[in-house]
């Protein structure tokens, strides 16, 4: 009960902030641009939603934060602004967009890995981990972007983000860090709220929010593995789960119908998430004391 009282405000607050802000921005977008190009909304709504949830869960972190995990607050705000600018307001070409995000991810991951750069890693380990972390964020981003489809299947991307984030939250709590678990559940609340926004507002795309969610999710998984006790296989299962959504091709919409396609794709994502949580349960240190 005490645990619920501790974690629920952050999750609910984040979800309400994301959903409310998303709805307001969608209304503004429709009022001023006749509903065109509504994709800039969700990067901003997601980033502010997560930042709000972070404040409720862990307070407003100092800048620069001493604890690398607390960079997530600033990651969310920065990538939200960049997502809105790069993805939709300036409508940059795909190649340039990917390059911008690659540079951003490289810088942000360096900040997250700073404690390991400072203590213990050899030069080779630093380079390998840095590259691996940037690749993982880029892969998750790509998967979430590719999951953003038309019609009812536009819900797939936020649904995948919600499922993976929620599972990550549970696994992180089992891995000895209630704080990291709470932040992952905040992210799940934000992604779930985005799902509702996308459900009710057909012109809102989750694609712009994909890099925001990806950097936060990847950072939580890296922090869980490097700084808490999240098992490596658990982290890997979470990282590759979004790929399975792409196993169901976009054309299945025609054969199966949109809702069955959605159910099948999300069901495939649930599988590695369940495995990851199971691994975390088996490895978890008991928290009751």
């Amino acid at each position: 009960m005490l645990l619920l009282k501790q974690i629920l405000p952050g999750i609910i607050g984040a979800a309400l902030l994301t959903g409310g802000l998303g709805a307001i921005l969608a209304w503004l977008s429709r009022s001023f641009s006749q509903g065109k190009n509504g994709g800039w909304l969700l990067p901003i709504a997601v980033s502010i939603g997560f930042a709000g949830g972070h404040i409720l869960a862990a307070g407003w972190p100092a800048f620069p934060p001493a604890d690398a995990t607390l960079w997530l607050f600033y990651f969310a705000l920065l990538t939200g602004v960049i997502g809105a600018l790069v993805e939709f307001i300036f409508v940059v070409p795909v190649g340039l967009r990917r390059l911008v995000w690659l540079i951003v991810f490289t810088g942000l991951m360096r900040l997250l890995l700073q404690p390991k750069f400072q203590y213990g890693w050899t030069h080779k380990e630093r380079v390998l981990w840095w590259i691996a972390s940037v690749v993982s964020v880029s892969l998750i981003t790509w998967c979430l972007e590719k999951s953003d489809r038309h019609g009812e299947l536009r819900l797939l991307s936020p649904l995948v983000a919600t499922i993976v984030s929620a599972g990550t939250g549970v696994a992180l709590m089992l891995s000895g860090s209630l704080l990291l678990g709470q932040l992952a559940l905040v992210l799940a609340g934000v992604a779930g709220s985005s799902l509702l926004v996308a459900w009710f507002l057909a012109d809102v795309s989750f694609r712009g929010a994909a890099p925001v969610v990806a950097i936060l999710l990847a950072s939580l998984l890296m922090s869980g593995y490097l700084y808490a006790e999240l098992p490596a296989w658990s982290a890997l299962c979470f990282a590759v789960a979004p790929i399975l959504a792409l196993v169901v091709p976009a054309s299945s919409n025609i054969r199966l119908g949109p809702w069955k396609s959605l159910a099948l794709a999300s069901g495939l994502v649930v599988l590695p998430v369940v495995v990851a949580v199971f691994i975390a349960i088996r490895a978890s240190p008991p928290m009751e004391y």
Binding site: L2, Q6, A58, G59, P61, A62, P65, A66, D67, A68, T69, L70, P115, Y119, G176, S177, L178, L179, L180, S223, L226, Y227, A228, E229, P285, P286, M287, E288, Y289
Partner: protein
């Protein structure tokens, strides 16, 4: 070199064994203790300790201002006699030992204060450095089992963990942490 200068230097050198300078003491981790207490749910304190402390004390009895203290405590040696709690304390929720493996104190000012010493320095916990002033009560001196000279003392002080970015579970675990530090050093 002038003759007078040479004679002065020679006299000083010959008298040096009789002049009292600073003594360097290496902290004996076996006979030193670092303990802490924190309020649980507003009910009562629970206590724990760190099992690994190291450091150096340079002590000038004649001129305490020339003394210095450098201490280092390994955070992953936290021990509250409950392994599950210890694991939680080591996690990112509290000490975050994989990011912050040591707690350190480095003095920058020592003042005599009656039979104790007021020591001011930089205290680093959870990656945050803040100035800290403590009253260190000097204990006695004695000879160890191998004839080595030992000296020590202790201090108690209180910090707020929120000042060092350790904000999680406020209300469950109190913000004010009392620290008890007892040091025994071996003269080098």
């Amino acid at each position: 070199m002038k003759l007078t200068t040479f004679l002065a230097l020679t006299a000083t050198a010959s008298l040096s064994p009789f002049l009292h300078g600073a003594d360097t003491y290496k902290i004996d981790p076996v006979h030193s203790s670092v303990g802490f207490g924190a309020m649980h749910l507003g009910v009562t304190n629970f206590y724990g300790r760190f099992d690994d402390i190291s450091g150096t004390v340079v002590f000038d009895k004649e001129n305490p201002a020339k003394s210095s203290v450098e201490l280092s405590v390994k955070t992953d040696t936290v021990d509250t006699h409950e392994p599950k709690r210890d694991q939680h304390l080591k996690s990112p929720d509290f000490f975050n030992v994989k990011q912050f493996p040591v707690i350190t104190f480095k003095s920058n000012k020592v003042e005599a204060n009656g039979d104790s010493y007021k020591i001011t320095g930089d205290f680093t916990l959870h990656g945050v450095t803040k100035p800290l002033t403590v009253e260190f009560k000097k204990g006695g001196e004695g000879k160890g089992m191998q004839g080595e000279t030992r000296s020590g003392g202790e201090t108690r002080f209180t910090i707020k963990r929120s000042d060092f970015g350790m904000n999680f579970m406020q209300g469950v675990v109190g913000d004010e942490i009392s620290v008890m530090l007892s040091l025994e050093g071996i003269k080098q």
